[in-house]
Symmetry: C2
Subunit: 296 residues, 2 copies
C-alpha cells in the first residue's frame, strides 16, 4: 500500500473521487469517475467502487466514504446528525452498507432551528473537519453547485446555510435567453466585478439577472464577458446575504479557480480576512481525522 | 372582413398571435402559432404571417404588429423609445419593413435612469395602452416569462422593471435538482402560499430556493406541491421588491390562471387594491388605439 492507511471516497451527486490517503491525511494518489451517486441505484455502488479503486483494495484497507453515497435511496442511508456536530459525533455515527461491514459512510448534517431541520449537507462536514483552524469562530465557504456558508470552530460545525449558486448558474446559462451566445466564465474580470457590484447593491435578483441582457443590448457588456457578469451576479447574491458582517476570517475551501473568484468577490464586498484552502486536500484530511477518531 | 378594421399581430419570442380586430379594439377572431419571433430570420416573417393570417389579408386591411418582430435581428428593428412614452409617441414611431409599407411595427420602450438605458420591453407597452385606467398613477403587472412592473398613467408608460420569474421557473424546474419529480403548478394553494411567505421574509433567494429540497426531505412539503412552492418563491421574490408600498391600484394584465396566482400572492403581501385585466384583450385594444392615433 506504499504507506496508505485509508482509502477515502468522496461520492458526490455527479462525480466520484477515490483517494489513497497516508498518515496525517495526505493524498498519495487519486482517481476520478463521472459515475456520481445521483445516478446510481444502491446495488450499483460496490462494483463502481471496485472498478475505480482497482488494485487499491487488495490489501483490505479501511474505507471511509463521505458525500451522497449516504443519501436516501443511494448506497445506504445514513441519517443526518443535527448541528452543532463535532468530529467525534461524526466518528461515532459512521454506518456500513449491509453487505460491506469493513466500509463506513460518514453521516451528513442537518442544520436545525426551533427544532426543525432547515438545511442539509453531505460531504462538506468532512471538509470542515480536515481544515486546520485556529481557536475561535470561523466562517467556511465551500463554493460549488450548492455552496455552503458554514459557521465552524476547530473540529466542529456550528451551523450552515446552502446557496444554489453553481447549479443556478448552469441552469440559467442553459435554459434562459441570457445563455444565448454566452461563453465560459473566467475571461473578463471587469465584467465579473460589475456583476458582483450589482448584486451587492440590488436585492431584487430575479430582476438584476435581466441586466445581463440589458447591459449587452446597451453595449456596456461585451458578449464574451456575459458569463463572468452572470457569475458575478450569482456569487454576489450569495455574498450579499453575509455582507452585513465583513469582519473575522472567511476560509474558502474549494478548487483553486473557484476559490479565486470568491476571494475577488469577497474583497469587493469588503471582507477583510479571506483565506484559501484546497478542497480536495481538506476532504482527504477530514476523512483521515474522522477515521482516526473512530479508532479510539 | 365582417367588421374587422385592423389585423393585429402580437409576435412574442416563442409564440405568434394574429387577431382580427373590430371597432373599439374588440377581438373578432384569433389564431395562434408556435413560430415565435425568437426562432425566425428576417426573411421568414412575411410567409409565416401570410400562412397564419390565411384569408384575413385578402382585402388588404391595415396590419399593426407589436412584440419581438421589431427586435434587432428580427423582421425589422424598430428602435426603443425612451420612457416616459405616450400613446401618441408610439403611434408617431411606427415603422415598416422595407418590403411591406402597408404593415407597421410598434416600437418597444427602453426604461431610462441617469441617461442610461436600464431595461427593455417589446409588447407590454401595447397592453398598457389598451387598458381603461382611471386618472392617476397606476402599477400594471404583466406576469409571464419576463414579468414587467410598469408605472403608468392613462395612455402613458412612466417607467418599468423586468423580473425573469417565468423563465427562471422553467429553467430551475428543468435544469436543477429541485425539478426532479416535480409536477405542474396549480394543484396546491397552501404550498404556493408557503413559497410566497418564504420569499417575502427571506431576501436570500438563491438560498431560499434550496428550501424546495429541504422542505421535501423534512416531509413538510409533498412532492405534488413542490411546483407550487417554487412558483410561490419566485412570484414572491418579484413582489418582495415592491412590498414596501402596498397602497394604490395594482392591475394584473395576463392570462386568467397567472393573474389569479399573482392576485393571491399580492394579497398575501398586503396589497389592498388588486385588479384583473385580460392580457389578450388588452393587446388587441392597445393595437387598435395606437392604430387610431396613427391616423390623426
Amino acid at each position: 500500500m506504499d504507506g496508505a492507511v485509508l482509502i477515502g471516497v468522496d461520492w458526490g451527486t455527479s462525480n466520484l473521487r477515490v483517494l489513497r490517503i497516508g498518515e496525517g491525511g495526505a493524498i498519495l494518489d487519486a482517481r476520478s469517475d463521472p459515475r456520481g451517486a445521483g445516478g446510481l441505484v444502491p446495488e450499483a455502488f460496490p462494483a463502481v467502487l471496485a472498478e475505480v479503486a482497482d488494485g487499491w483494495l487488495d490489501s483490505a484497507p479501511p474505507i471511509l466514504v463521505c458525500g451522497m453515497a449516504g443519501a436516501r435511496g443511494r448506497w445506504r442511508e445514513v441519517a443526518y446528525l443535527p448541528t452543532p456536530a463535532t468530529l467525534v459525533d461524526l466518528a461515532d455515527a459512521l454506518a456500513s452498507p449491509a453487505d460491506r461491514p469493513e466500509l463506513k459512510i460518514v453521516p451528513g448534517l442537518k442544520a436545525m432551528a426551533g427544532g426543525r431541520m432547515i438545511d442539509v449537507m453531505r460531504g462538506e462536514e468532512t471538509q470542515v473537519m480536515g481544515l486546520d483552524l485556529e481557536p475561535g469562530n470561523h466562517r467556511i465557504v465551500a463554493p460549488g453547485t450548492h455552496s455552503k456558508w458554514i459557521a465552524a470552530r476547530p473540529g466542529q460545525v456550528v451551523g450552515y446555510r446552502t446557496f444554489m449558486t453553481g447549479e443556478l448558474f448552469a441552469a440559467i446559462r442553459k435554459g434562459t435567453i441570457l445563455g444565448t451566445g454566452m461563453g465560459e466564465p473566467g475571461v473578463d474580470e471587469s465584467a465579473f466585478a460589475d456583476g458582483v457590484d450589482r448584486a451587492l447593491t440590488d436585492p431584487a435578483l430575479t430582476s438584476a439577472l435581466f441586466s445581463v441582457r440589458v447591459e449587452t443590448l446597451a453595449d456596456r457588456l461585451h458578449p464574451d464577458g456575459a458569463a463572468d457578469y452572470l457569475s458575478g451576479l450569482l456569487i454576489g447574491a450569495e455574498i450579499a446575504a453575509h455582507s452585513h458582517d465583513t469582519h473575522g476570517p472567511v476560509t474558502l475551501v474549494g478548487a483553486d479557480a473557484l476559490n479565486a473568484r470568491y476571494a475577488t468577490a469577497l474583497k469587493i464586498a469588503g471582507f477583510s480576512d479571506v483565506r484559501l484552502a484546497d478542497g480536495a486536500a481538506a476532504v482527504a484530511c477530514g476523512l483521515w481525522r474522522i477515521h482516526q477518531a473512530s479508532l479510539r
